[in-house]
Symmetry: C2
Subunit: 283 residues, 2 copies
Amino acid sequence: MIDNYPTRLPHAIAPIPRIEPTVWGTVADGPLNQGDLDGYSDAGHMLRRNTISDILIPELDDELRNIAASLDTADPRIIREADGSIRSIFEPHLISSVVKQIAELDTVLPVAQQLLGGDVYIHQARINYMSAFSSTGFYWHSDFETWHAEDGMPTMRAVSCVIALTENYPHNGTLMTITGTNRTFYPCVGATPASNHATSLAGQTVGIPDRETLTRAATRGINQFVGPAGTGFWFDCNTLHGSGSNITPFPRSNLFLVFNSVDNRLVEPFAAPGPRPDYLGAR
Amino acid sequence: MIDNYPTRLPHAIAPIPRIEPTVWGTVADGPLNQGDLDGYSDAGHMLRRNTISDILIPELDDELRNIAASLDTADPRIIREADGSIRSIFEPHLISSVVKQIAELDTVLPVAQQLLGGDVYIHQARINYMSAFSSTGFYWHSDFETWHAEDGMPTMRAVSCVIALTENYPHNGTLMTITGTNRTFYPCVGATPASNHATSLAGQTVGIPDRETLTRAATRGINQFVGPAGTGFWFDCNTLHGSGSNITPFPRSNLFLVFNSVDNRLVEPFAAPGPRPDYLGAR
């Protein structure tokens, strides 16, 4: 298989224009109108209010506590901050019927199918917690860069649906995306260490564009995902994103559902010694 | 002199309602109208567009480079980040005639005189730089708590005027204030170490309210200072404020001018071994 998006290289190479489209379906294929599709294709992200209804939010909140309580503390699907607090829980859709049900909502699954042009499956799902006062955030990266290099995802035909479980403010470490970066692949310098995922989920050291690249990439500015609990935010697998610190008294948590096209199933990793566990990249 | 605002204590004590007013002057005393004065008194902060005109900004930008270049690298008025980059330069108004001129603008000095009800002087001035990509921000504190404890400022009759020298976005580590906290003094636990200022300007360890206090203090929410270069932001000496990290490619810098009433001159520190240098608290 030809590697159109080389990365984790010994030397820097120029950015590579995206080959495949960002939007694979048409207006006829789902709930999004042409304006929605064009906007998403152009910016690489899209806000959707009321993705989860107010009725479902308290039920989900209970369910999240249940998930956290039900897992063994040594479960590798739990990622912790340096202080021991939970940062992420992976595979919530396989643990909780409520989370599974959310992935199948009319505001979720048909949108993913329309954006990706056909049947989809969940490549990865997680709940991200950002605790109040001391969370440090996460630096800029493209998910596709990681999924291509470490999971063997062949093409850019995947999308993340983020659903706010608490209000996301502009000041409490919300998800930021760099507008329009879905359209360019930024190859990164540095080989993938063995078992990189054991540390990379708390803070990446490879797969990070350099500062000059980020500066040039940000000419169209930075977007913040802001909205009350239940708000949905979709971003393309290749859109550069990150988050700042949270020193406010307001924790935030989001559910991430990553959909991949069934025509884009994982192969061997393109730039890593071996594949990651299934809870990070379903096979 | 009676200490109405005890702090740096061995044990926690309850918050103390503010005794003196936030606004000392009246509508007759300056350019602010009754709505401005009431809003500032209530919230503890106030945004003022076009505090510096577009014409003055490029001149100031040049002048800031001149100031940075003119100082000896060991000058104690320069505060650096861990990586050596400049975080703050103190006393720019005594080094640069352009900065002095800004403090005397019709959009600045008369506002300070009106808020504080009479003649004022500059207690402290600084330029704060927040570099792109890696700035870590500054945790919540009340300036008055420090100025009272370490500089001997008797009462809450001082105000900070912040002027944006670059655009302040909601995502690049902008100044956050906790609405309405000007009205309560939050005594802090922990004695002031000797020469605390030698380290506290890069990151405070004393003079920080605990997390429960901050959570209760934030019921009216958090305000961000956002605006293009030239925008002014006034906040009361006792308003709790802080800033998050900046991982964006957009550095930001602000000029801080702290005005104090001539009737509120410094005395001996209320909770520190000795006074700080003049560039931190003018005597």
